[in-house]
């Protein structure tokens, strides 16, 4: 309290006294209603308690509901998911097998392939008269320039020539050309094998053949009107892309001349070998009833 500032303090002494009065009144008020304050306090306390109880109740309710929901889900789904998985797995497996089978079946088209890490592995499957024969592989590296990594093509097929001509410029032509050569080789080989195995009885001595099966030489027995003759046949396949010979020579090994009726036979046989596959010619011999005595000549 500053008595010193007379004119400058707010209102002076009277105002100051007023202020003091107000202060006293306030403290009296507090002293007068302790119960009221307490009552208010008590009310607030109970409210807090109530709210807390409500909160806990609600919390437990939520928890219970969640548990129920989870339980119900757990009870329902196990059966359903199991069924789906089994079905799906079986379906997937079936589809996979199907695709695998299709990919494997591509072999029957004659030309198929599988991608490799560096290019493609081409498979050429040969066939003759509906019979599936050997398969040959070429592993190509797809780089510039294209090159052959390794292959299973027989050494006597002119792979180098064909590659030199077509590999870099026209890969389709390269593969088709190779297919042609391999199929023709397989066909010729098939005919020679059939002759050796199925018609061995007709041959007077073993069939002579070369690796490419493009030169076949054999002596076979022919019977007509009780007479048995031997014919020497020499078949040349100068075109390596065909399965029929380009040159046929049938000779009569004996020094005496061939009777004229036999000359006809000889000529007709020559014609047969030109036009029909080898084993089919011999089948026709067998069918025509030119039954041969299988005893040695």
């Amino acid at each position: 309290m500053e008595w010193a500032n007379d004119g400058k303090s707010k209102g002076g002494v009277l105002a100051h006294l007023e202020r003091l009065e107000i202060q006293v009144n306030r403290s009296h008020k507090n002293l007068e209603d302790p119960q009221r304050a307490q009552a208010v306090e008590h009310a607030l306390r109970t409210k807090i308690h109530k709210l807390r109880c409500l909160r806990d109740e609600l919390r437990s309710k939520v928890k219970r509901r969640q548990a129920r929901v989870r339980a119900s889900i757990a009870n329902e789904e196990p059966d359903q998911t199991q069924e789906i998985s089994e079905q799906e797995v079986a379906e997937r497996r079936r589809r996979q097998e199907n695709v695998k089978a299709i990919l494997q079946a591509y072999r029957f088209t004659g030309l198929s392939g599988k991608l490799t890490s560096r290019g493609v592995c081409v498979c050429i499957s040969t066939a003759f008269e509906g019979n599936l024969l050997d398969s040959y592989f070429i592993d190509l590296v797809l780089q510039k320039p294209l090159w052959i990594h390794h292959h299973s093509i027989p050494i006597f097929i002119p792979l180098e020539e064909i590659s030199a001509k077509y590999l870099q410029t026209n890969i389709q032509r390269f593969l088709f050309c190779l297919c042609e050569y391999l199929n023709a080789y397989a066909g010729r080989k098939y005919q020679a094998d059939r002759l050796q195995s199925d018609f061995a009885a007709y041959l007077a001595r073993p069939l002579q053949r070369n690796p490419l099966c493009n030169l076949l030489s054999f002596t076979y027995k022919v019977k007509l009107r009780g007479q048995l003759f031997l014919f020497c046949a020499r078949l040349l396949y100068k075109d390596l892309t065909t399965t029929l010979p380009t040159d046929v020579t049938i000779t009569y090994p004996e020094t005496d001349a061939l009777p004229p009726s036999w000359e006809e036979q000889r000529a007709s046989h020559e014609n047969l070998f030109f036009t029909k596959p080898l084993h089919q010619v011999f089948t026709s011999f067998a069918r025509k009833g030119e039954k041969l005595d299988v005893t040695r000549v």
């Binding site: 494997q104 592995c121 592993d139 299973s152 006597f156 002579q208 690796p211 490419l212 100068k238 390596l240």
Partner: protein, 338 residues
């Protein structure tokens, strides 16, 4: 039978080990089953040989003895060192209509026209191959049966394999006979030599790698990885796993998964200038190239090279000079400065 022929028989049969005697005699196909049954194979070798020579004496000729020699050599082909010859046709020549009988008669005629005393024998083998045995004589001496040359020719291919010829002067004639008889134009000796005839064949025919990726393979391609090694013992930690896997991968790419053809050596003849990092090195100052011969020997050279990088002895990838051997079909190299 001539004494010399009997001696030739005796020496040839003596070469055959007892364990193989029956097999080789059967393959020879000269003595009948009955005759072989009557022979006592349990006796000592010398007496057995005498019995066999007596059996052959009646109707065997020197040619039959030569055939027996061929059979023995076929069973023991690794006893000879084989060279490889490559023939070529002229441009635009006709299709090869190979006739084995024609080849044999032509080959024989060419040799016999050039040399008076020469004995040629043939024996057909598997895969369209023919084994030819040539015993050389001179104008005044009969063929020497104890130093023959063998030629293995695969028909309708440009390749022939010959055992080392003791009389080097006859090699050009041999080459000529082969070339003309098989309808080829030129013949060249390849820089490839080994005892293992089948490996040489696999190399030049490019048949050493016959694994192909298809959808039809019954055995799925198994990815080789180091996983097995690493997980064998959990107490072992591989610090260089990544590097090891890289080396494995590179080795697999270079050498493949197949078994390598068998060679015993690789020889590099260097004629290069000496390269040195040091300035003023005496050798580096030489103007002439340094001559040097490096030879790698091994019971199985290519498998040994394949195992170098995985074993940690060499860096991967290996030098192309080493890895190109089967691909180029060479194991003799001449390296000059470019």
């Amino acid at each position: 039978m001539d004494e010399t022929v009997a001696e030739f028989f005796k020496r040839t049969i003596l070469k055959i080990p007892m364990t193989e005697m029956m097999t080789i005699l059967k393959a020879w196909d000269f003595l009948s089953e009955k005759q072989l049954q009557n022979v006592n194979f349990q006796q000592r070798k010398e007496s057995l040989v005498q019995d066999l020579v007596l059996l052959c004496e009646k109707r065997a000729s020197v040619h039959d003895a030569a055939l027996l020699d061929i059979v023995y050599t076929q069973f023991h082909r690794h006893r000879k060192v084989w060279d490889v010859f490559q023939m070529s046709k002229g441009p635009g020549e006709d299709i090869d209509l190979f006739d084995m009988e024609q080849f044999k008669s032509s080959f024989k005629k060419i040799l016999q026209r050039a040399l008076k005393n020469v004995m040629v024998s043939f024996r057909d083998a598997e895969e369209n191959a023919v084994w030819i045995r040539i015993a050389w004589g001179t104008q005044y001496r009969k063929p020497n049966q104890y130093k023959p040359v063998y030629v293995v020719y695969y028909s309708q291919t440009p390749y022939a394999f010959t055992s080392s010829c003791p009389l080097r002067s006859n090699i050009p004639l041999l080459g000529q006979a082969l070339t003309v008889a098989s309808n080829h134009h030129k013949i060249v000796k390849m820089d490839l030599r080994s005892r293992y005839l089948d490996s040489l064949k696999a190399i030049v025919f490019k048949q050493y790698n016959q694994t192909f990726e298809t959808y039809n393979s019954t055995t799925p391609l198994q990815e080789k990885s180091l996983e097995l090694d690493i997980h064998m013992d959990s107490r072992i930690i591989h610090e260089n796993r990544i590097e090891k896997e890289r080396v494995q991968r590179v080795t697999q790419e270079t050498f493949g998964d197949y078994s390598q053809p068998r060679l015993e050596f690789a020889q590099y003849k260097l004629e290069t200038k000496f390269k040195s990092d040091f300035n003023g090195d005496i050798l580096a100052e030489r103007k002439e190239p340094l001559r040097c011969l490096i030879k790698f020997s091994s019971p199985h050279l290519l498998e040994a090279l394949k195992s170098l990088a995985p074993a940690g002895i060499a860096d991967a990838p290996l030098s192309p000079l080493l890895t190109c051997i089967p691909n180029k079909g060479m194991n003799y190299f001449k390296i000059k400065d470019k």
